[in-house]
């Protein structure tokens, strides 16, 4: 019996011609793990919000949704609140109260449950999720991963039958994201809970899903098992959605083999051995970047946040050259973002030097430093937006940069064309998707005419295609001799687009090299493509490399 049955559902937002959801029918069995994927703006969130009438967007809806054979509209509010759980993207925004225990109890309080019962259920959930250790803490003291786990637990405590999650791991670092996905898997297997998950980062979830729904412009493209989806995507070649898929599927997609689609690294590696016995097993190395022109240099930089606090940076030394993309990789709390703050002059080190074009950064005046020189794209681009229209955002920078009208318009047009944001000019910055917001923010800082741009976790929350677009933009910038320094968790992205990578660990850079030597030298901290192919190819690190070598053999 289907627990959720969607019949010919269409939905369109007010004052918009195109349908956000276009005639979708699907049925979800009890206990299934459903993965929904698709490009940003394909209607994923709109679709799953329809399953939760309390938070469904306003607009014209046609078709019917059945929950346990009852029309969803007829389900009473109390039942809906407890039986259909909904976890959102941003871990911070969903938390309502100030204490962990109170957050866990919040939903149950709303359902008018008595204190002794709440006490038992909260205790049960806290033990199941391993929350006891921080049960009495303030929520502000939790890490992002813990916050999202708390959000999940405070839904689970209400005993839902269906769990809906909207990109729950997009704001988490890879380790916390993997933990979260594993917890979902555990819930699905041990409690037989039906899970509907919308996700961009598919590497871990894809193999464990029972069925995958691929949406395209509000339409159902494919709805099948992961293997079948992988195979049928091969026939729909060159679709943008493929950029977000796990590496093995992407590689399989480009090669003409006649077997089943590999889903995990293990299957992918077996699949490679079965199909390819290669003589050519090596990618020609990158040409060494031109390192004659040092634009930025850190010399033995030590930093701590307070006199009594431990050191965050312990003698960091690094150099960045003109017109290169330099990635700093590393785990949470290793000091990557602090390094970025030191480079941008927000934090000043207590020992060591930061040299910008050979001159100490503290000797620059504010205007000298941030105009025509160094610029930062923060993790959260929203912190850059001041106005209610994208267009106006640019005007204020024009004023500061003292450009005349003609030059300004030319410059804005030029940048807008390079970033493909012309069509966003009349919108409110907050109405844009994550990727679009980032592009607008980038356009804003490009108007400052920077020679060095610092990116803090630029790929956070972006789907596969937006990442590709961002990477291409970075390459473009590089051509105009801009130096890019980025701090990231995203190994795959750094491998594909950087000229040099550095591993940050325990307040220092422990290794630094061009991406091919860097990643093929690591055994664990390396890309999926490299882990999958290292037994037959010597130094293939991106899926592009592997595809290239496969096609040659």
């Amino acid at each position: 019996m289907a627990i959720i049955d969607i019949k010919n559902l269409s939905f369109s937002y007010p004052a918009q011609e195109s349908k956000a959801i276009d005639n979708i029918s699907l049925s979800i069995e009890k206990g299934e793990f459903i993965l929904i994927c698709g490009e940003t703006g394909c209607g994923k969130s709109t679709l799953i919000r329809q399953l939760k009438p309390q938070i469904a967007p306003y607009g014209a809806r046609h078709g019917e949704i059945y929950y346990n054979n009852i029309p969803l509209k007829a389900l009473d509010d109390k039942k809906n609140a407890s039986e259909i759980g909904y976890v959102m993207q941003n871990p911070d925004n969903q938390i309502v109260t100030d204490k962990v225990w109170h957050e866990l109890a919040f939903g149950l309080e709303n359902l008018a449950i008595k204190t002794p019962v709440i006490r038992r259920r909260v205790a049960e959930m806290a033990s199941f999720f391993g929350i006891e250790g921080w049960f009495r803490k303030d929520v502000q003291d939790l890490s992002g991963g813990q916050k999202q786990l708390l959000n999940l637990a405070s839904i689970m405590v209400m005993n839902p039958k269906v769990l809906i999650l909207d990109e729950p791991t997009s704001q988490l670092d890879p380790i916390a994201a993997t933990d979260f996905i594993n917890t979902l898997y555990k819930i699905n297997k041990e409690l037989a809970l039906t899970i509907i998950l919308v996700e961009h980062r598919l590497e871990e979830v894809y193999p464990i899903a029972d069925k995958v729904l691929v949406l395209d412009k509000g339409r159902k493209l494919i709805y099948d098992t992961p293997e079948k989806v992988g195979e049928s995507l091969r026939s729909a070649k060159n679709h943008n959605i493929i950029y977000g898929f796990p590496t093995p599927i992407r590689i399989y997609n480009e090669c003409n083999t006649k077997d089943k689609c590999p889903l995990t690294i293990r299957e992918g590696s077996i699949w490679l051995s079965n199909n390819f016995k290669s003589n050519i097993n090596k990618i020609n190395s990158y040409k060494k970047p031109d390192n004659s022109n040092i634009v930025l240099e850190l010399k033995d930089v030590w930093f701590r946040y307070g006199r009594e606090l431990p050191d965050v940076l312990r003698g960091v030394s690094l150099q960045a050259y003109k017109g290169e993309i330099f990635s700093i990789l590393g785990g949470n709390g290793s000091g990557k973002t602090t390094t970025l703050n030191v480079i941008s002059g927000i934090s000043s080190p207590y020992r060591g030097k930061v040299l910008l074009h050979g001159k100490k950064i503290s000797d620059y005046k504010k205007k000298e430093l941030y105009h025509n020189n160094i610029a930062v794209l923060p993790q959260n681009p929203q912190t850059l937006f001041v106005k209610n229209k994208v267009e106006k955002e640019f005007d204020e920078i024009i004023k500061v940069m003292k450009l005349n009208n003609d030059a300004a318009n030319k410059k804005i047009n030029n940048i807008a064309e390079r970033l493909y944001i012309k069509h966003l000019f009349q919108k409110h910055p907050y109405d844009l998707s994550g990727g679009e917001q980032q592009k607008v923010a980038l356009a804003k800082i490009l108007l400052l005419n920077p020679k060095i741009i610092l990116f803090d976790e630029p790929t956070k929350g972006l789907d596969g295609y937006s990442k590709k677009v961002l990477g291409e933009i970075m390459k473009e910038l590089k051509k105009s001799h801009v130096t890019i320094i980025m701090v990231s968790h995203d190994i795959e992205f750094s491998a594909e687009y950087s000229d040099r990578c550095a591993l940050f660990f325990d307040g220092n850079i422990v290794s630094e090299d061009d991406p091919i030597s860097f990643f093929s030298g690591n055994s664990f901290y390396t890309t999926a493509a490299n882990r999958m192919s290292r037994h037959i190819f010597k130094n293939a690190i991106t899926s592009k490399d592997v595809i290239h070598l496969c096609q040659q053999s």
């Binding site: 938070i55 309502v96 225990w101 303030d138 002059g345 430093l369 941030y370 959260n380």
Partner: protein
């Protein structure tokens, strides 16, 4: 290191009743003996809660306040019948000096009591207290307490981003600084409103607004709390009785009231001392218990 005090383990109601009566009594009883008792017991309790080193630190910045109040009263008030000397033809009277000292003692004691209160009554205890009486208010407080650190963090992020745009100035003329402050505030408000929608959705999705919302609290009122609350209430009523019969009232003007040391007065004084020293006794008792437990191990 965070010391877990024995007091913290009591139910919020017990703690609230104790501190409320302490602070109110200290405010109303201007009798020198009562004030001395309040000062001594608040100092002892704070010392017990934070340790000697931190106590001295607190006393160090409280001392100037004490002196300031004690001195300023005789300078500005010239009431009283016993002039000691004259400054600018204004009499400095014995009464106003004594009253100044009494006032200073009272204010300093209240400050010390509030320090103790803050250490013991954490926000969740306060919320639990009002959760049953005014549930909506309790929830609002909880949401606010969640929001404050979040906004603080966001302000920091915004000002960092704006600084790297060259748009935030923390040095320069006051007008410029105000202007960039307003800018940050405007960004913050937009951000808060946008992200507040998520929080509202999260509340709605979890059934907020359904009928008959209950209030959960992790604090349990057990027998131990009942006994302690009983003792405190008994002592409080004895002291109210003392006030009714005038044993704790006192006056400084126009001349200082004579102290009397009758058995009844001393009994009431003792009951006041017992009430105020009660938490300190609980703390010490707990310490001794632990010491004997450790020695048995």
């Amino acid at each position: 290191m965070i010391r877990i005090s024995a007091l913290e383990s009591y139910h919020p109601i017990v703690l609230f009743v104790f501190f409320a009566s302490c602070i109110l009594f200290t405010m109303f009883f201007m009798h020198p003996v009562y004030l001395a008792i309040s000062l001594i017991s608040s100092t002892l309790l704070l010392g017990k809660l934070v340790g000697l080193r931190k106590l001295f630190k607190t006393l160090l910045y409280i001392l100037p306040i004490f002196i300031l109040i004690a001195i300023s009263n005789p300078i500005f008030s010239h009431k009283g019948v016993t002039p000691l000397f004259y400054i600018n033809y204004n009499p400095i009277t014995l009464e106003s000096i004594l009253y100044g000292i009494a006032m200073a003692t009272m204010i300093v004691s209240i400050m010390l009591w509030f320090r103790c209160y803050n250490l013991v009554m954490t926000s969740d205890k306060f919320i639990c207290l009002f959760g049953n009486i005014i549930p909506t208010l309790a929830l609002i407080i909880s949401i606010t307490l969640r929001l404050i650190p979040k906004l603080k963090d966001q302000i920091k992020q915004i000002s960092n981003s704006q600084r790297t745009l060259g748009m935030y100035i923390d040095t320069g003329s006051i007008l410029e600084r105000i202007r960039s402050g307003i800018r940050i505030l405007s960004i913050l408000i937009t951000w808060a409103l946008e992200n507040g929608i998520d929080t509202a959705d999260s509340m709605k999705a979890r059934g907020y607004g359904l009928k008959g919302r209950t209030t959960f609290s992790i604090f349990k009122f057990d027998k131990r709390d009942g006994i302690i609350l009983g003792i405190i209430l008994l002592l409080v009523s004895i002291n109210i009785l003392g006030e009714v019969y005038g044993y704790s009232s006192f006056y400084y003007y126009p001349y200082v009231k004579n102290m009397d040391f009758s058995v009844m007065t001393i009994t009431f004084n003792l009951s006041y001392f017992l009430l105020l020293i009660f938490p300190t006794i609980i703390e010490i008792k707990e310490d001794l218990k632990w010491r004997s437990l450790i020695s048995k191990i």
